[in-house]
């Protein structure tokens, strides 16, 4: 692992790159401040349920609020100064990203942990509340915001209902679930959901995180949070294999799958293995008429933060070349997660034309609703 030891200096802090104007930030996390913010968007039954049952909310161990990764130091709240975390405030979030750098849009992926809920009706109620909260408190406050429809994937029918309910609002440009749920998301169980997404020109986003229906790893539960976060990328291996092997992209040829906060550099080696294995055992999945690599080039995109690589332009360049495509990466800050310091949002070692694709062209090609909202 010599390459890891290479320590070229990162981009200088505080430098705002000129080519960021018009960029589309594909992963920004608005934070639900408390349960009251959601009950305001619930009907009487669910509002009363929350009160009577003493439900205080759903926060995931995937992002412990005080863990270093969850919120960057300068975006944290400060009780003494009477300041909340920046990600609870659409204005401060916009100031840190779109105002500061001239981004055209920020795509909001709310990580409120509806996926933990075992009761599928309650999960759907919380999804409705989260999506309506995003609409009222974020989309309506700044016309540059776009958002993902958070789905109650505990139940595909309820997920389709939520898509139908939200899709008329063209500021929703993607549907979103987490990388680790009860079943791999390529299974036919979920196809009505992907069908609805395709019908409405919505991309399908899978974000790092877990419902914790299963242990985090194939060998059970790890001891440390560090391992839990590291293992999120493993769930993406499973999801990518599932979407390909089940034939989702054969069934839904217009579908775009966006892997959000997955780590990027894992994907090429996994595809080499999957493609070789496919050559050996393709009798099992005869509907797969092309190499997995080709499906990925046509249908799968990844957000660029975190980018798991050393600060070496040379190594980054070789890793970029592994992707064999300039269309796969989408710019993302992953705000407010602490993936980088200052403004070092993009790894070094990416030339100007590829930067432009990552910042602008690729997001536009991935999200049809960004281009033609009507």
């Amino acid at each position: 692992m010599q390459a890891v030891a290479e320590r070229a200096p990162p981009e200088p802090l505080g430098r705002v790159s000129t080519d960021w104007k018009g960029a589309i930030d594909c992963d920004v996390h608005p934070h639900v401040p408390d349960i009251a913010a959601l009950t305001r968007h619930m009907d009487d039954y669910w509002r009363e349920t929350v009160g009577v049952r003493g439900i205080t909310g759903f926060e995931s161990i995937a992002y412990p609020p005080r863990a270093p990764l969850t919120v960057r130091p300068d975006w944290r709240g400060d009780k003494a100064a009477g300041r909340e975390r920046a990600d609870t405030d659409p204005k401060r979030t916009a100031a840190a990203l779109m105002d500061r750098h001239g981004f055209a849009h920020s795509i909001l992926n709310c990580l409120y942990a509806v996926q933990l809920i075992r009761d599928e009706h309650m999960a759907a109620a919380f999804c409705r509340a989260v999506n309506d909260w995003v609409r009222a408190e974020w989309l309506d406050r700044d016309p540059r915001y776009r958002a993902s429809i958070i789905l109650p994937l505990q139940n595909p029918e309820l997920s389709v209902d939520e898509i139908e309910r939200c899709a008329p609002d063209k500021r929703f440009i993607q549907v979103m679930g987490l990388a680790a749920g009860e079943q791999p998301l390529g299974k036919s169980h979920f196809w009505p959901v992907w069908q609805a997404a395709e019908r409405h020109n919505l991309a399908v986003g899978i974000h790092s995180g877990s419902s914790y229906y299963h242990a985090t790893t194939g060998s059970g539960w790890p001891s440390y949070y560090l391992e839990d976060y590291a293992a999120q990328s493993l769930a993406f291996h499973t999801q990518l294999g599932s979407f390909i092997a089940e034939g989702v992209f054969v069934k839904f040829p217009k579908l775009k799958l966006v892997l959000i906060e997955s780590g990027v550099t894992w994907i090429a080696p996994y595809l080499w293995r999957l493609s070789k294995f496919w050559r050996g055992v393709r009798l099992e999945v005869p509907w797969i008429d092309r190499s997995p690599v080709e499906f990925v080039r046509d249908h799968v995109r990844l957000t660029i933060q975190p980018f798991d690589a050393p600060n070496s332009g040379e190594t980054v360049g070789r890793l970029m070349d592994q992707l064999q495509s300039d269309q796969m990466l989408l710019f993302a800050s992953d705000f407010p997660h602490w993936q980088f310091d200052g403004d070092a949002m993009l790894p070094g070692g990416i030339d100007a034309s590829l930067r432009k694709k990552i910042l602008i062209d690729n997001p536009l090609a991935t999200y049809p609703r960004l281009v033609s909202p009507h």
């Binding site: 060998s219 440390y224 560090l226 590291a230 599932s242 780590g263 550099t265 080696p269 050996g280 050393p310």
Partner: protein
């Protein structure tokens, strides 16, 4: 038996010596050969009547629920090469066929065994697991490593019971017929967990590396994302389970506690390792407060302690990509493995892409194996 041996002269018949039999041809260390029983009654002489009766009555009980097969049926009978079936028994059960078809044909100087199947590993009845693992080791020694000195055994331990595993290592570990301790990657808990430390302590004491081979029945899907449908997903997922093992060993501090321990990741490929090391290093930088027992970056532990067998060799469209990965891992950390007699067998003279120099090839096929497996 038609054989396709692409490089070097035709080999002489089995001579029981191997190395030096054919001048000017690389003497190969093969890190993954699978011996098999002809049938389970091969183990009967090595099991107390009590345990044979339990096995006969209740069968193997593992955490995938199937008593006579796999929830993901293979793409070939027993996942084996069609040409590796002896006249009786199953592939890997005939020493003479293994000698002529593999050891002699590829000039294998040393082959490291990894017994799979009903070896006792993953058996839910821990007492039965302990007894069967011992039986497997004794059978392996009598059937393969004593008659054929080129073969070194994989010391099978009932790894869900750490102290019992340590005892088995103490029982067999001094015997030079064993070249490694053999564990499967899909364990009940992540393998860096302290319940497994007695295994590492004993292995370190006997100068045995741990070979972590893919498969195993943990009862958990390979990631938190649930159970996939197909064998292709199960197979591709093995590299995922290897990442779980390496992550856990490093982050739990196993290499701090057992600084002489060497481990070999078997049959999961290797190309995933740099990306994992990059990821762990970044996370370590953010969260070292959570893991104060680690004195160095994760990539440094991996660099010093973890070896990778190359089969099944990753094959990107552009071979430079896999050469980059091999360079990042280090040419001293990659070990050739054939996976004989399985269908996805790698040939030591054909598996590697152009661009691997003869010197690098020699290190992967010969030198590195000597520095990690207990061969001499």
């Amino acid at each position: 038996m038609p054989l396709d041996v692409p490089m070097g002269p035709a080999v002489s018949p089995a001579n029981g010596k191997g190395a030096g039999a054919v001048p000017n041809r690389l003497a190969v260390i093969d890190g993954d050969i699978h011996p098999a029983v002809r049938s389970m009654s091969d183990l009967k002489p090595y099991l107390a009547k009590q345990w044979w009766d339990v096995y006969e009555t209740y069968g193997a009980r593992r955490k995938h629920g199937s008593s006579n097969g796999e929830p993901y049926p293979k793409a070939a009978p027993l996942a084996c090469r069609r040409d590796a079936w002896p006249e009786d028994g199953r592939p890997g059960s005939s020493l003479s066929l293994m000698q002529t078809q593999h050891l002699d044909a590829y000039n294998i100087e040393a082959g490291i065994l990894g017994p799979l199947g009903n070896t006792g590993q993953g058996e839910m009845n821990l007492e039965l697991s302990v007894a069967m693992c011992s039986a497997t080791n004794d059978w392996q020694r009598d059937t393969f490593t004593r008659p054929e000195k080129r073969l070194k055994g994989g010391l099978v331990v009932p790894y869900e019971d750490g102290p019992a595993s340590a005892k088995e290592i103490e029982r067999c570990g001094a015997d030079p017929d064993f070249g490694q301790v053999f564990i499967l990657t899909r364990s009940a808990e992540p393998l860096g967990n302290r319940r497994y430390w007695p295994i590492y302590e004993a292995a370190e004491r006997y100068n045995l590396p741990i070979g972590f081979h893919v498969f195993g029945t943990s009862g958990h899907p390979v990631s938190g994302a649930g159970w996939p449908s197909y064998y292709i997903e199960e197979g591709a997922g093995h590299s995922t389970s290897c990442q779980t093992v390496v992550t856990s060993l490093v982050i739990e501090g196993v290499f701090e506690r057992f600084p002489k321990l060497k481990v070999v990741m078997i049959e999961g490929g290797f190309a995933w390792a740099p990306a994992l090391a990059f990821r762990l290093d970044k996370l370590f930088e953010r969260m070292r407060g959570e893991v104060p027992h680690l004195k160095r970056r994760p990539s440094e532990y991996i660099r010093d302690h973890v070896y990778f067998t190359t089969q099944p060799m990753e094959e990107p469209d552009d071979r430079r990509h896999v050469l980059d990965v091999m360079e990042w891992i280090g040419w001293d950390k990659l070990l050739f493995a054939s996976d004989y007699p399985h269908w996805d067998f790698d040939d030591p003279f054909r598996a590697f892409p152009a661009g691997v120099t003869p010197e690098q090839h020699r290190r992967i096929c010969t030198e590195n194996g000597k520095s990690v497996f207990r061969i001499n």
